[in-house]
Symmetry: C2
Amino acid sequence: MQNFNFCSPTYFEFGKNSEAQAGELVRKYGGKKVLLHYGGGSIKKSGLYDRVVKSLSDKDIDFVELGGAQPNPIDTLVYEGIELCRNEKVDFILAVGGGSAIDSAKAIAAGVPYDGDFWDFFSGTYIEEALPVGTVLTIAAAGSEGSCNSVITKVDGKLKRGACGEVIRPVFSILNPELTQTLPPYHTAAGSTDILVHIFERYFSNTEEVEVTDRLCEALAKTVINQTPRVIADPNNYAARANIMWAGMIAHNNLCGVGRDQDWASHAMEHELSAAYDAIHGAGLAVINPAWMKFVSKKNPHKFEQFAKQIWEVDDIDTAIARYREFLKNIGMPSSIKEFGGVEEDIPKLAKNIGLTEERDFGGYVELNIHDVEEIYKLAF
Amino acid sequence: MQNFNFCSPTYFEFGKNSEAQAGELVRKYGGKKVLLHYGGGSIKKSGLYDRVVKSLSDKDIDFVELGGAQPNPIDTLVYEGIELCRNEKVDFILAVGGGSAIDSAKAIAAGVPYDGDFWDFFSGTYIEEALPVGTVLTIAAAGSEGSCNSVITKVDGKLKRGACGEVIRPVFSILNPELTQTLPPYHTAAGSTDILVHIFERYFSNTEEVEVTDRLCEALAKTVINQTPRVIADPNNYAARANIMWAGMIAHNNLCGVGRDQDWASHAMEHELSAAYDAIHGAGLAVINPAWMKFVSKKNPHKFEQFAKQIWEVDDIDTAIARYREFLKNIGMPSSIKEFGGVEEDIPKLAKNIGLTEERDFGGYVELNIHDVEEIYKLAF
């Protein structure tokens, strides 16, 4: 195990009707003028918008709003949000939605007190200061409700990039599993896939002697694998939704990733799929992550033996990966880039956009150069 | 799964030489005048005391000190600490030691700004205010480094009682597994037992549909069960120490206990053993917890079936409990109250001290009245 530090100070309010706490929590964490940031109209249709607004009003909290955060949230909306917050003297950002609304809110929060272009943070500059962010989560997937990360797509050039900073970790997150019951099955399944890959990006590591984090990863993965078919069969299965939702947070607040090298090659490869085809992140991962496994398990099988035995309860690596693919297919996820409208001729551009060269590689478990990445994209067709 | 809230804001610095960060962390969390609180002389013999003092001095942090925190820390030292802090205008308490020094530090921290008798907090009054507490942990056991709990023994009457409050949760904790390498094997084993029972107090629950926390509990238990024999065989096994130390924190910051009823009868019964015989807490649990299992598994077997299968990989409940007892014996733990010098004639007094009557019972998994408790104490002889 490596030396590490860990701090996950987010306050979680979990359960039925928990969104009624929004106003009280904003008040507790110092918010007086709020930007209410959300995605499309679904929160208005479901009544969630009204309930959150009522909760704010009940605590005399003033707010302005900005909708329109879309899957793979974009820089242009972030600029708009920053300007709105400055003009309106907003001091707290409340994201109501999934990872997209939350990531967009985090980027706005970092941009407001920053003199330069907020995109600097997505080009390597560490975020030192931000407005506080709270969330009301509507999909179990990204783990952004408990993480210090944000991923934004630059419209010009279709670049999808991540930023990180302790100051953008939400001060509170409200997790009501009921809110996820109205999701279309495809989005539910993509969310579970995203959670699984957050686990696997940490699990596949060459760091030795990390049983405690290995076992925690396996515990979360097995939970998601057991519970997801239940919510696909019955979208109103509250208990299964609740188990997935709490697993999704723990899968990405890094409790299970401390003290060990991590991989993250699948995420980088998926980001290009989202940017190129506007694939939903989890669906892109469903295609890329098993292809990555096929490729790297031949080069470095040792952790895959454990993956096979502990998670899929089989002795053979190829069988374990086949089980994983079968699981993803059964919950409705795609298994080829073709399903996003991609053609094999796109591969060189996808690989090039990641920014790798013959000399520059990535991936913590198996180092991949640009040729390896092209092979993996091929396996994903 | 039940509704819940969860917040574990402690900052953890984990790994080799991490105690060198003490001064910087005290400074970061606002400490200017520190009470350095510790147990016996072992931290002076090991050089840890000097390293912590140097770290404070390097950051120009003034301190006073109070040693003498003993296993089952006592109220009289807490009163002494409160007076010292008030006289010296201490604004931060740094505990260097195990759960005893940390629990004692928490009680002092709560007592300093409180007008009344600090024992009020151990008689049901909720702690609203406290000085900030930081810790340098020297034994993986109590989980006090990440918890909001403190347990203190009142010398007059040998009453061992707990208190809880978010304000006494440590602001930072330094976890260096190397510091645990000098522990006697008995203390190491008692520490692992304490961790296991923290897990089992949460695991044995009648709350349905809690797979995520069940699996996390099992993950932690299996880690401790696998790693403890390694450190008993080789006290210098850093990797095994590290896995146990991180598991010990997660086992008690309540991440695995949210959304479910918990039991805690074994802890209450053990507290009377510690109070009566000055048994080390973990050793007392090694005697009581399997006896509790024997008794309650007959009345409510359903969770024990899962315990047998998932943790001990056997089909039979009695075999699983026997394996647990065997495990405890093999790591050097006692298996009878006799080993603490107790005699069966003590049972009525032990049971009575818990405060139960025929009408008043306790235990979240199986409700126990005073007669049940006497039966369990008998099984522990």
